[in-house]
Structure formats: C-alpha cells, structure tokens
C-alpha cells in the first residue's frame, strides 16, 4: 500500500519512517512525502493512481489541506484515493468542512500512531 503523507513539517518524514520501520522493512507499505499541497498535487500527477491513501494536514501555508482534498476528490474521480484528514484537537469547523468535501476519515492531532496503524490494517 502506498501512502502519501502531506504535512509542512519536514520532521514528519523521519517520524513516519521510524514509526513504520517494520512495515516498510516488510514491504507492507510504501511511504511518500509531500511538504505542501502543491507538492502533493505534483506527486499525484506524476504517480497517477499509485497512492492509495493520502494523509493530509489541514493547516499548511499555501494550499491548505482542504483545498488539496477538494482537488483530489474532483480530479481523480474513478476511483479517487482514500483521503484521511488530520484535524487539530477540537477543531469542529475544519472537521465539518472536510466532511462536506468528502474526506474518508479523520485523525486528530497529536497523531496516535497505534490508532493510525489500526485504521490502516482495517483498510
């Protein structure tokens, strides 16, 4: 399973790679990273249909997570990749907007990796 992680914090790459080191080693998942909405769209254009899951932060400079979500859900109609949004703690407004735009699932900050892993295995 190929997962594209979108977040403006670069350290997120190191964290994910370490958190999922066993899964990466065993080839269960492949991680790709984008550090802005624009970068994520470029990646998706280049690697069409490769990413099955997109984990996107909402608050990012430039294109926000919500805009990215809108683009993805409009462009990649058949079948669009699963998009999980990462919302800040107690941010009901962004949660509702993401719902409207067709987000598939939600994770709240701070990321609980055991919850994420559970969700991934269910998917």
């Amino acid at each position: 399973m190929k997962i594209l992680v979108v977040d403006d914090e670069r350290d997120i790459q190191m964290l994910f790679e370490q958190r999922f080191r066993k899964e990466i080693r065993s080839g269960q998942i492949i991680l790709a990273f984008a550090f802005s909405g624009e970068e994520a769209l470029t990646y998706l254009n280049l690697h069409h249909h490769e990413a099955v899951l997109i984990l996107s932060d909402i608050n990012m400079p430039g294109m926000s997570g919500l805009e990215l979500l809108k683009h993805i859900k409009q462009k990649y109609e058949n079948p669009p990749p699963v998009v999980m949004m990462i919302t800040a703690y107690g941010d009901a407004e962004n949660y509702n907007k993401s719902m409207e735009l067709g987000a598939d699932d939600f994770l709240t900050k701070p990321l609980d990796f055991s919850v994420l892993k559970e969700k991934l295995k269910l998917n």
């Binding site: 350290d11 958190r19 800040a88 107690g90």
Partner: protein
C-alpha cells in the same frame, strides 16, 4: 337754643360713631344712642320749665366729662383732632357760664373779650374741622393705600410660599438626581473595573489558547520521537542480546540501552504532562463555541456536585463532607452547553471540596466540612451559589484566581487552568458573570449568574 346743646349733641354723636366704628363697648353705644334723644328732651324740658340755666350747666358738665374721657382714653386718639376744634368753644362756653353766675364786675370786664373770643373760637373750629377733615381724608386715603399694600403683601407672601414649595420640590428633585448620578458613577466605575477585568481575562484566555497552539506541534514531535526512541532502544537491547561477543561489553551496552529507555520513559511521561496542560489551554479556545441546548440546570448542577464528591472520595477514602442543597423546584430549563457548563461547575465543586479538606487537615475541634449548593432564579438570571466553609481565599490573590496558570495547589495537583476555563465558559459562552465572596479561614462563596432567555 344754646350752643352747648348742639356741641353736646355733636360730641355724643361723634363719640358713638367712634365706638361703632371700632365695635367696642356695645352697652355704652346703646346708652349714647338714647342720649341723642335725651339731650333734646332735657333741653325741651328745660325750655318749658324755664330751668334752662340748670340744663345749661348739666350740658356743660356733660361736655367736660366727654372731653376728659376723649383725652384720657386711647380709643379716641384719632378723634382728638376734632375735639381740638371744639375745645375753645367748650372752654369759652364754660367761662361764659361761670361769668354769668359770678360777680357783675367779671361780666363787665370780660363782655367784649368773650364776644371776640367766640368769633375766634368759631373760626378756630371751622379751620380745625376743615384741617381735621382734610387729615381724615388723607388718613382714609392712607388707610386705603395701606390696605392695598397689605393685600399686595399677602398676595406676595402667598406667591413666596408657593415659590418656597416649588424651590423645595426642585431642590429635592435635584438632590435626588445628584444622588442618582453619583450612584451611576459608582456603578459605571465598578462596570469599568469589571470590563477591564473581563478584557484582561479574555486576552489572557486568547493568549493561552494561542500559546497552546504554538506549543502543540513541537510537543507532538517530542512525544512521538520519544515514543519511537523507547521502541528503538528496546529493539537495540534485543539486538544486542543476539550479538556474539564479549559478555561484559554486551552487559554494559545493555545497561546503557536500559538507561536510555528509562530516560526516554521520563521524557515521554513529562511530555504527556505538558501535553495535558496544552490540552487544558486549548479548551480556552473552545470555550467560545459549542452547541447550546435546553437543559435542566438544577439537575446538571446536582449531577456534577455528586460527580465531584464521588471523584474525591474515590481518591481519598477518608474524605467526608456534608452536602447541603437548596434547589429551586420546577425551574425553567435554559439554553446552555451542558458539557462545558458541567465542567465549569465541576471546577468550582472540586475547589470547594479541596478547601474543606485542607481545613479539615488543620484539625480544628468541632469543624465539620460543608459544601452548599443553591440553584434558583433571581430576576432574569439563573443563579448558582457554591459555598464552602473551607480555608477561604486571601484577599491578595482574589483577583488572580481566574487567571490561567494561577494555582495555590502543590505542583502536580493543579494546572491553574480550571477556574480560568470556568470563567471563560461562564462569561463568554454563557454570557454570565461570577462573583467571589470569601473570608480567609471561614470559607468561600461563588455566585454564578447565567442570563435566562425570555
């Protein structure tokens, strides 16, 4: 007919008039009235019986008596000017009478003089009557003027009295307005203080939430990496076990890995602690939204009171406190955010129980911890009173209790965010207000008022 008869008649008439005018001595007035006829009857009798000399003397004496009375009695003061007119005639009359009965030499000596004096006396009388009349008229005019003045004075007095009343009324009105204004100034000043306080609290709340937002992300990294490090160090230890080599070196390396794990666990533990503080701070930004629903405030307050009490009992089995409730029956349900208000109330209850338990520790004889909850409607507000007989809040820190991070509890027992959050929930989310009344060593009462919608 003698002059004295006329004079007597005129005098009686005038004297009576004076008495009538002044409305005094009614018996005398009656007597004088009949005397008017009496004079003429006596005169008639005297003429008829040829005893006119005796009558003449009788009349002269009567005139003299009247004259003396007029000059003696104050009642006739104003009549004296008329009297003056008759005086020479009267004296002359008497003199004439005396001369007539006296020796013949008197008569011879005074004959010419009396005739001349009579003419002068008459002229005198006429002149004096004229003057007196004039004076009388002037006096009457003066009297009329005085009466007019008196009337005017009375009118002015009345107007003055009216004005006095009006002035008194106006003064009272102005005084009342002044007092109202002074009260308004006092109210405004206290409102200003409250506003400043509210503003300060609001900006502190926002600042708190803002800081929390900023700290949240780096803190997440710290916690996450530290979590991973525990895993990595554990794996390292395991891998070391598999390595073939010098046992002592392996042991030393494993011990090092253990130390790293332990340290990392501490980092995680304190990171989690920081995280829970940040979460508490973030609730400040949440205190501005939340869905209101029609809620039974009485039931909610009661529920959280029990929750707080049992929560404390679970931690401290020895803890005990008397709980008294005064709850209004059938209070209208009001629109509020139940979870948030519940959490706010919980903080007040927890603090109340904490205050009584702290006082209990002082082992004051006869001290019985008590927490009282009152919920009632006062005017347009729902009022929640939470009173304890605990340690009380020193005046010096009473202003600070709603500030974020202010706590009197020992480190680790309180973050100082409880009351600050409660303050936000009540004042911002529910547009209510909180009053704190406290006496050090005797207890504290929080009065929370939440507006009820009409």
């Amino acid at each position: 007919m003698g002059l004295e008869t006329v004079i007597l008649f005129v005098l009686i008439l005038q004297v009576r008039n004076v008495l009538v005018k002044q409305k005094i001595y009614p018996a005398w007035r009656k007597f004088l009235f009949w005397s008017l006829f009496g004079v003429w009857i006596v005169f008639g009798i005297g003429e008829a019986t040829r005893q006119d000399d005796i009558v003449k003397w009788l009349f002269h004496i009567s005139i003299l008596v009247i004259t003396v009375i007029v000059y003696q009695k104050d009642e006739f003061k104003r009549y004296r000017s008329y009297m003056n007119a008759f005086l020479p005639l009267i004296i002359l009359g008497i003199t004439e009478a005396v001369v007539e009965i006296g020796p013949k030499s008197w008569k011879d000596a005074l004959e010419g003089f009396i005739d001349t004096a009579q003419i002068f006396a008459i002229i005198w009388m006429v002149a004096m009557l004229f003057i007196a009349n004039k004076q009388k008229k002037a006096l009457e005019k003066e009297n009329i003027r005085r009466e007019q003045e008196e009337r005017e004075r009375i009118i002015i007095e009345e107007k003055k009295a009216e004005l006095e009343i009006l002035v008194a009324e106006r003064t009272a009105e102005i005084t009342r307005q002044k007092e109202e204004l002074e009260q308004a100034v006092v109210d405004l000043k206290s409102a200003q203080t409250q506003l400043i306080h509210a503003e300060k609290m609001a900006s502190l709340g926002e600042l708190t939430a803002g800081i929390a937002h900023e700290i949240q992300n780096p803190l997440n990294f710290v916690n996450n990496f530290s979590d991973v490090n525990i895993e990595l160090a554990t794996e390292l230890k395991e891998e070391l076990g598999k390595v073939v080599g010098d046992e002592n070196t392996k042991l030393a390396l494993q011990q090092l890995a253990n130390s790293i794990i332990q340290n990392q666990e501490k980092i995680t533990q304190h990171g989690k602690r920081a995280d829970s503080i940040v979460k508490g701070m973030l609730q400040h930004s949440r205190a501005n939204n939340g869905q209101k629903e029609t809620t039974d405030l009485v039931a909610l307050a009661e529920e959280y009171l029990r929750l707080s009490y049992h929560g404390l009992r679970a931690k401290d089995k020895l803890f005990n406190a008397k709980i008294t409730t005064h709850l209004e029956e059938k209070m209208e349900h009001i629109a509020l955010v139940p979870q948030d208000l519940g959490r706010a109330l919980l903080n007040f209850f927890n603090n109340a129980f904490y205050a009584v338990s702290e006082k209990k520790k002082l082992n004051i004889p006869g001290y019985e911890p008590e927490v009282t909850l009152t919920v009632k409607r006062t005017g347009k507000y729902a009022e929640i009173r939470i009173r304890d007989n605990g340690t009380g809040i020193p005046e010096a820190i009473r202003d600070k209790i709603f500030q974020p991070f202010f706590t009197t509890k020992p480190t680790g027992l309180g973050t100082g965010l409880g009351l600050s959050l409660s303050y936000d929930i009540i004042t911002k989310l529910h547009e209510g207000n909180i009053i704190c009344q406290s006496k050090e060593g005797e207890g504290t009462e929080f009065i929370i008022r939440i507006p009820m919608e009409e």
